[in-house]
Subunit: 432 residues, 2 copies
């Protein structure tokens, strides 16, 4: 199948016959124009982003709840709400999700949050230790449905590993594009799964531009780029964070939720997921607030939020939180909408605050977060201090990655003492 | 409470009143001598290792099965079979376990195992990404029961992180002892949880000797060394691997199971767990074979196995599989017994074969294993080639750790191509 970027309503080849469960069509987020399901991501009318439109009309609330609760301990318990076939759990994939929602009473005490009210959704428990496994798993099912045989992406880190691992398990060829001068550790992590790992002579923008070119070329035929031509499907994976949080809270909405912002897609899909649960009657309809978290060194959305702007001015990233370092976030305006509509906010923290927050989370809850988790915990602290977050309400903070992947951030951490192997030396060091 | 190494039957202070669920006493593995539950690990009669004796007499098989299946998605679903209080799931801990049992059909194809018969038990999904979270969680409950306030261990890697994280979550002080010249990455991983991390001027043997000295000294009062004075409790955590494997196979014993050997404790406790399930009627009683896996550079048990010896001669370790590098494995003789009794074997592989096996598992199943996982997969391949493993039987291979912690082992892995950001360059590289 030839790859295309813009859908046409007259294009039936794009897959009216594909079985992606409740996914009924693609719908433009800007103008509402609908097109059949296919490997396209931009509206032919207005070039707005396409997203999945569902048909949930057949669901009975209590039957659905029972079906979910009887499902597997991974994202496929929510298959009835995702763009995947009903038998998805039987297909080879990494089965991500159903990660721990940790009641963080020690952290709550340090931050002045009421006991029992603060939770960390710890996505480091996913198969490749980041939330990217959730979104790649959706893209993989779309790739299967559209007959693609190669799974691809541009990446500088977590996504490369998630795509490589998912393709390996599912029997796809994978070809991941990264800047040629990436840190050796990240290259190893992406290369170990045995797919093609191609270094592009240039920066991440050059990598992205090349990928867009490849999608439009015959050489890209049969290629599913998870975060480009499969993006509408891919992005839906973030809804599962919302589903899991609510189910793990006993089918309750959280009052407040703190989400990291890279492209902004995750935050918008968490909002979409919460709205779906409300409409389906799976949770009670009551207000919730969504807060966005950025690093100061890449804070285009929080800058716009604080300035009261509706548009997001691109920035050149300079922060240790590299998994969030998207200077021109595609979903930035939608994030601003959601933060303002729900009564949330968007805030940023310095790299120093990120490191402090990583250490704070580790020493209070035993969770070693990636820099992105340092950003959300740091922003949570800042928003509590400013009064934007209410310490008496149920609050969920996302940790979307794993500290083992960003060891450099806490490289200053080390031995608290060095002693000789003797009790005298032990006592002299004041350890007794 | 004063810490002691050897129990006395007349010592009631050691805790006849402690509530550790079905744990009834400590029993010597060598002579069967029983003493009350307490922080002791060696028999006063014969200096044999003490292990937990349970009272499971009150359990009805079907009620127990239902209770387990209705339990949480972590090791505490098996609380009725562990030395922990019944309300353990309500106490702050890392809630490890219930990791994925991956049907490894791609790996099976490569190794010549029948489709649907090969499984990888992937313990990299634990909170600190190794099976050590299972054992530390048991030691933590014992530490609580005995009134300890400091959690401690000697370690060169996985255990340090598991103890640091568990202590942080549970509100214990932690003090971890490591050789002072450990690799910086490992130091960071252990230090981030904020406990005391003490470098000992000496090698790992010196660290261990110092810890034993500290346990006998007043300075060690109130200290629970998870792998020394709490070892009988700690070791029981490995039983949960056996429980999970059988439950995940639909309450069936595996025919063959391949287990890494460090001290050998894990293998012996997996056997104990399988035997318990048989006695409790939770699985059908039929033969199973347990295979032990070592790295050639530290293969005291496989050397003894192959030579037909009952005793294990210590070796000086020299292998990249550092988490298995125990040259004088305490449970070596028991491992030999079990391998011979069940019709299994003990085998070893070279470091080169370990690396090959890590890559094989990654490219077939998307699982990035620690070197210990490379050892088990490599040994599985070798045992299939020799005919010791039957490719038509249900076989479970353990991956007990995470590749992110032993990146150096696959540091040679890298880019498959480097190109300019152009389609011409892409085609020239033969990637189209």
């Amino acid at each position: 199948m030839a790859v295309q970027t813009v859908a046409s309503t007259t294009d039936s080849a794009a897959g009216t016959s594909v079985d992606l469960g409740p996914a009924a069509a693609l719908s433009c987020r800007e103008c509402g124009h609908r097109v059949p399901l296919g490997p396209v991501f931009a509206c032919e009318e207005c070039f707005g982003p396409l997203e999945i439109a569902y048909d949930f009309s057949a669901y009975d609330t209590e039957e659905l709840r029972k079906r979910i609760e009887a499902g597997p301990a991974n994202i496929w318990r929510y298959a009835p709400l995702l763009p995947v076939p009903a038998d998805v759990a039987t297909k080879p994939n990494l089965n991500p999700g159903w990660t721990k929602l940790v009641k963080a009473d020690n952290l709550a005490r340090e931050l002045g949050v009421d006991a029992g009210k603060l939770f960390v959704k710890d996505d480091s428990g996913n198969p490749t230790h980041s939330f990217k496994d959730r979104v790649v798993a959706q893209a993989l099912e779309a790739a299967r449905a559209f007959g693609f045989t190669t799974l691809s992406c541009s990446s500088t880190g977590n996504l490369a590993g998630a795509v490589g691992a998912a393709a390996a398990r599912a029997g796809f060829r994978s070809c991941v594009f990264i800047p040629h001068d990436l840190e050796q550790g990240k290259v190893v992590m992406a290369a170990v799964y045995g797919g093609e790992l191609v270094g592009i002579e240039g920066n991440y923008d050059d990598v992205n531009r090349f990928c867009s070119e490849l999608i439009g070329d015959p050489a890209g035929e049969g290629w599913g780029f998870v975060n480009v031509n499969l993006r509408p499907y891919y992005a839906e994976g973030s809804k599962t964070l919302a589903y899991e949080i609510c189910e793990q809270l006993g089918w309750q909405l959280p009052d407040q939720i703190v989400v990291p912002i890279a492209s902004g897609s995750q935050l918008t899909k968490i909002d979409k997921g919460l709205q779906e649960l409300i409409k389906l009657g799976l949770v009670e309809d009551r207000p919730y607030k969504i807060f966005g978290a950025q690093a100061e060194g890449c804070s285009p959305v929080s800058t716009a939020y604080k300035a009261g702007h509706d548009v997001v001015r691109p920035q050149k990233p300079n922060t240790i939180a590299k998994s969030l370092a998207i200077g021109n976030p595609a979903d930035g305006p939608y994030v601003l909408d959601i933060a303002r509509r729900t009564g949330g906010a968007v805030e940023d923290v310095t790299d120093e605050q990120v490191v402090d927050a990583i250490k704070l989370l580790a020493r209070t809850e035993g969770i070693f977060a990636e820099t992105a988790g340092g950003v959300t915990v740091g922003v949570t602290r800042k928003l509590l201090e400013s009064g934007a977050l209410d310490p008496s309400l149920t609050t969920v903070v996302l940790n979307t990655g794993d500290g083992l992947k960003t060891l450099d951030a806490v490289a200053g951490t080390g031995l608290t003492a060095t002693i000789r192997p003797s009790l005298d030396s032990f006592r002299e060091a004041g350890l007794a």
